[in-house]
Amino acid sequence: MKLVVLGKGGQGVIFFSRMIAQAAIKKGLSVCSTEIKGMAKKGGTVEIQMKIGEGLCGLVKRGNADMVILLSNDLIDYAMTFGDRIFSFTEEDIKAALSSVSMRQVNTFLLGVFVKKTSLFKCEDFSFLDEDNKKSFIKGCEYVQS
């Protein structure tokens, strides 16, 4: 599986890619990835390309990604160069996250939303999360089901 995670500094791009990688490793799959962080720290583009269960390197060719996880909608044109299956959070998703959990747990809530909406992974794959994060992750999963 070839994934690209795309967004800006501070949006949790690195967090998302690491959680996904850890879940894949727990399942016994190989993971390789590559990170490109723009020069400016705040607001700069962060791009992670990742291969799960295949390949020697993390780089994904243009047009070849099975899915692009897009955290910053203004990068949509750039995201499309990797493939046309784009996943992004809706405004409702983000509102739900902000109103259901504390600021620090927003990312794990959204991770739950992602897992439920895409079914690339199962909720059990993320059993390595610590207690607080697990709670908000499950809240994210439940939000999608409801």
Binding site: R18, A21, I25, A40, G43, L56, G58, Y78, T81
Partner: protein
Amino acid sequence: MPRLYLSGNEAIAYGLIQAGVRLITGYPGTPSSEIIPAAQKIVKEREITSFIDWAINEKVAYEIAHSVSLAGIKSAVTMKQVGLNVAMDPFMNSAYIGTEGGMVVVSVDDPGPHSSQTEQDSRFFAMAAKIPVFDISNVREAYEFARKAISLSQEYKIPVMLRSSTRVSHGRADVEIDEQFSIETLHPHFKTLKDWDKKLFRYASTPKGRLSLHKELNEKIEKIRLTNRPSFFFSGDMLILSSGAVFSYIYELIEEHGLENRVTLAKIDMPYPLGNLEVSSFKRVITIEETYPVIELQLNTEGRRNGIVPSEGELTPDVCEKIFVKLNLIEPKKTIHVPPLKRPSLCPGCGHRIGLFAVKKVFGKKAIYAGDIGCYTLALNFGVTDTILCMGASISFGFGFKKAYQLAGKDQDVVSIIGDSTFFHTGIQPLLDAVHYKIPFLTVILDNKTVAMTGNQKTLSDNVSSSGESVTPIEIESVIKGLGLEFLKVLDPYDYTESVRVLKKARTFIREKSLPAVVIFRHLCVNTKEGISSNPKYSVLLKKALCKGCKLCILEFECPAIHFNEKENSVEIDYTLCIGCGCCVHVCPTKAFTMDKIEEKKE
């Protein structure tokens, strides 16, 4: 063995420590900066006695690591590719002198370039110095090659280069790590060596002795050359030779396009020194490597020199596919247009922005602004940087530009702009010359007490080192005072009115006394915890009615939190980015920005 999701740089750190390296030093530089912090963590968790910390520049780092090796302790030095240029003198010489304890030189290249001044190939420099070089092709290999490099160095008593690249160092993969770390006591020996007399001839060698050391070096390289064998994959009558990150891309492409019967792929772990390779059975032999023709020149194959491989730019999998088209291995694909990404800017509230805005206000657009390497390079976006060469060059350029106009008897304001860590790295030396020769120009030192550009490493101004040791803090002004400079002022650039006043005084001083002046702008980097928590915080508002839409605050100041709304012909503040620093208040000619203090500055 545990499987960890490591970056290439972390994997290198694990490999080095596991191979017994007990001193690692270097200077931060993207993409090499994470090796030292990773190694610090590894030794701390395992209570391994060691010294792992930053040096003032790559030359000093190299010399420290080399002398430790000569005392019989395994060592390593880390840097980015352009850092190797700074360390070139000891690098070349250490090949002749050799090593005692294994010594590895980690140099990380940046094909692209993503965050560097050049696309230079460290393997080329290794070849020039006659130093063997391992070229890492993926994260798992980073761990393995770090250990191999130490053992090769130990065996042949020669420094060994470990070459990585952005894609490997900033890549990640699951890596199996051996949890066995030897915790042996260290036994340095130098003058206590039995055959000291013979050794002295090597360690303090005169030119005559160097000739025989050169001969010895050639013999070592010849021996290593004979053991250096590539590994082969697939079985076609076209041979592609590769090393480093590109090897992984080519391997994947051959599988993806089912070319296993048309191409043989040779993987070269050590691109220098290369052994003879029997290639007469192949119809064509092509080298695809980043970024200079190192293997290609040694084996005289096709590649860059006959235009098959592009001579500049990163050889990404997409580019490698185009090379395959040129080799008639696959049909051309539709090219995908990649839209450009937004250019980077200084962070909202960065002290460099308002400080340099004041400099521009006083010295005007006609002054020559000699810039340097650091975040403040981005002042290029709003017209306060005219040159960027290499670390420390701002001050030598200030000297040179001023001199050029002086020789012609013409007036010209010249301002050099340099950060605190860059000043210590290689900015001090040109300032010595400027003072000595009485060159009248202004040097602005932007002191944010951190190496911000590469991930906020500590500078000499701290009293605790990054590994937690107590250290002696060194203030820039005390160093400069020692030079006998007459005009030296330290101030916080957030105090805009005072900045303008001091800069005007500096300008008058330089013109009237015809001497150099230094202004230090001190403000913590707001991208650090300490910096943001101690930063003044205001409630900043934009009065739309007062905004004339002149775009001055966009073009001449460029805070990412200020957006221009074309429809309304006025600006608006993006409060998700704004940190309430209040600096923009000084910028708008019609006073459209207002501020109210909302929180007392915490001490």
